[in-house]
């Protein structure tokens, strides 16, 4: 593993068992999460971004499994990496990582808490499970955490039940819970999608502070390119189970190279060009179902740069446009050679 990399995914394949047939959901993705950075996994519904994040914690649904690949996790620089992929999903090893060194925030703060236990007890449980502390110490720590995520009057909030929290407050409590054991990686799956824009801004602010102050590394799953631009350092664009382009956030937004990335960026309404009210460039058709995956590059039926006989037969290899920017598309096949020659 490279220096400064906390998590490395190598050629990860995930399949869905559908009545005995193996349907590929994720087809060989490679990713690296550098320490202290926010990596955004971006794509439309069904692209495999959520499944990938669940695989990291071995939280996949029963009928979905990792069929091959490596997930190498190195909590600190001096430790040797652990491969999470082959671990028993209910075993001791993954349980000592899950919620402890790597934790997760979900989209629905409503359904992520038990309605019949106090907020403080639910967060305290995580602390007591992983760290050797007394109940009183755990409670003290919960109050600190609630305070850190901006919950007013944490001394009182700790004894409240989830129903008395608003959506935004629950999401804060959820972040507090995920931070309970000082994880080295935070995985956030659409953490702001269900929230109002003003609350979303507050949650993003909290997450940005975590990144700046605690040097927290995060994997941020979202379909909202506005949110990506505001929070991410690195971006990976996914389409039908594959990463089609990845690079630093400024490269992806200012210099997108994959036709899918280009179309996504021109399909979103922006405030910057309110005055000229141009028509949005839409992408024709829609994402095919997993059972009708187009051969070759799955985007080819919707792509304006489609090369017959090429795009529909083979998935394009990596074109390394620069040391930090890579794309999978045949239109860039020769670009790389020019750079290297």
């Amino acid at each position: 593993m490279k220096k400064g990399v906390l998590l490395e995914i190598r050629d990860l394949h995930i399949t869905l068992d559908f009545d005995g047939d193996d349907i590929p959901i994720v087809q060989g993705i490679d990713l690296e999460l550098p320490a202290g950075k926010v990596l955004a996994l971006v794509g439309e519904s069904g692209c495999g971004k959520s499944i990938t994040s669940q695989a990291l914690l071995r939280l996949l649904p029963r009928e979905v499994r990792i069929s091959s690949g490596e997930i190498n996790f190195r909590p600190t620089e001096d430790q040797s990496p652990i491969d999470i992929a082959p671990l028993n999903k209910d075993g001791k090893e993954i349980r000592s990582i899950r919620g402890n060194q790597m934790s997760m925030i979900f989209q629905e703060p409503m359904s992520s808490f038990s309605p019949i236990h106090k907020i403080g007890d639910q967060i305290g449980e995580v602390i007591q499970l992983h760290l050797k502390v007394t109940k009183a110490e755990a409670r003290r720590r919960v109050i600190d955490l609630l305070d850190k995520v901006g919950i007013p009057d944490p001394e009182q909030a700790v004894d409240q039940y989830p129903h008395s929290f608003s959506g935004g407050m629950r999401q804060r409590a959820m972040i507090a819970k995920s931070l309970a054991c000082n994880p080295s990686i935070l995985i956030a799956d659409e953490p702001t999608t269900a929230l109002d824009v003003t609350i979303q801004a507050q949650i993003l602010e909290i997450m940005r502070n975590l990144k700046d102050e605690l040097r927290m590394s995060m994997i941020f799953i979202t379909h909202d390119l506005g949110v990506v631009a505001q929070i991410a350092d690195e971006v990976a664009i996914m389409y039908m189970g594959r990463i089609v382009e990845k690079g630093p956030v400024s490269e992806i937004f200012n210099n997108p190279q994959h036709p899918y990335t280009v179309s996504l960026l021109s399909a979103i309404p922006r405030l910057g060009d309110l005055s000229d009210r141009r028509k949005l460039t839409s992408i024709r058709g829609s994402v095919p179902s997993l059972f009708e995956r187009p051969p070759g590059c799955a985007f080819h039926p919707r792509c304006d740069s489609f090369i017959p006989g090429r795009c529909d037969t083979q998935f394009p290899p990596t074109s390394q446009l620069s040391p930090i920017h890579e794309v999978h598309c045949f239109i860039h096949e020769n670009t790389e050679k020019e750079i290297s020659s």
């Binding site: 007013p152 200012n254 179309s263 996504l264 309110l274 829609s286």
Partner: protein, 339 residues
């Protein structure tokens, strides 16, 4: 432009809790509490606000799909002013030919046991407006306009993707050639690439069929793209209404400022600097006295706690309900980007 619809002091109160031997409601949830505005023919009026601000209730109340508690709704048709509140069931059925609705979730709004052909035909049949070949021709024509493959009309909704389903819902809403459409979060559930298709389709249809939209949404960037004017709701009332440019770039109400400054622009160089609201949204059963926003407003003074600000016109076409609007210098969308 001529006026299509005038809404005056409309209220929708829901009874909550029961008390006493007569079972009178203990209190009322004031989902919409005294809203007035006009919609001009051919325009798109946006309606934004946090969840629970009463946007959807207002959209339904205008059509009387949900019965308003009080207020006046006047619809202009062929030079006649029609008082919608005074209509009986029959009168409503007739006026509904002109006023239709598109919903958020195209998975829930289409009957799974009807074919697409039947779904789109239903309004014509229910109103006995067409049959036989004429019916079929109208359905095929509308399906084409909405970008549906006319060879697939005998299929059931489950065979279609979310974007295609929303096209079916649009075709159904437009088959009676209405003039006014309430789009309630019509693109919110759709993926980015599909959202653009539907937004473009709604715009094309507006020009083609001379439609007027009330566009309810929480996605402020989509609203900015789709709407000519925008109204902002807070706790059941309109706090500001203006042209899209004015409302986004020169808001005059502190709540609008909070919304606009919180839009995450898809540009990593434009780091947002949101103006945060303090506290939580109060309950609409027991709204604060004075200005309803004062509990969360950083500019609030003693006056705001007692005086109810009226919605007043401060510059032409720009209405705001804030006592101190003239004295405030508020941030708009992308303000931080202007340097």
């Amino acid at each position: 432009m001529s006026r299509l619809l005038r809404v005056t002091d409309i209220k929708v109160h829901f009874p909550v809790g029961k008390t006493g031997i007569l079972g009178r409601p203990a209190n009322y949830l004031k989902a919409v509490d005294g809203v007035s505005f006009d919609i001009q023919r051919g325009e798109t009026l946006g309606l934004v606000g946090e969840s629970g601000s009463g946007k959807t209730t207002l959209g339904r109340a205008i059509l009387r799909a949900l019965e308003p508690t009080s207020g006046e709704i006047v619809y202009e048709q062929d030079g006649n002013s029609i008082d919608i509140m005074g209509l009986n069931r029959n009168g409503l059925r007739k006026i509904w030919r002109n006023m239709q609705m598109i919903f958020q979730d195209p998975y829930a709004s289409l009957n799974p046991r009807m074919t697409v052909q039947d779904i789109i035909s239903e309004p014509l049949l229910a109103n006995k407006l067409a049959k036989g070949k004429d019916l079929n021709d109208q359905v095929v024509d509308m399906a084409q306009r909405c970008g549906l493959n006319t060879g697939h009309l005998s299929r059931f909704p489950h065979a279609f993707s979310g974007g295609q389903r929303q096209r079916i819902a649009i075709a159904r809403a437009l088959i009676l050639h209405p003039e006014f459409i309430v789009c309630d979060e019509a693109v919110s559930a759709l993926d980015v690439s599909i959202q653009a298709q539907i937004l473009n389709l709604l715009k094309d249809l507006q020009v083609e069929l001379n439609l007027t939209y009330l566009f309810i949404a929480h996605d402020l960037a989509a609203v900015a793209y789709a709407c000519d004017r925008v109204a902002v709701m807070y706790l059941g009332q309109i706090v500001e209404i203006a042209s899209t440019e004015k409302l986004y770039y020169s808001p005059r109400h502190p709540y609008t400022e909070a919304l606009m400054s919180a839009i995450p622009e898809a540009n990593p160089e434009q780091v947002m600097q949101p103006v945060f609201l303090t506290g939580e949204r109060p309950s609409p059963t027991n709204p604060p006295a004075g200005c309803r926003f004062h509990t969360r407003c950083k500019y609030a003074t003693d006056e705001c706690r007692t005086q109810v600000p009226a919605l007043r016109e401060i510059t032409e076409g720009h209405f705001v309900a804030c006592l101190h609007s003239e004295g405030l210098s508020l941030k708009g969308a992308l303000e931080h980007g202007k340097g």
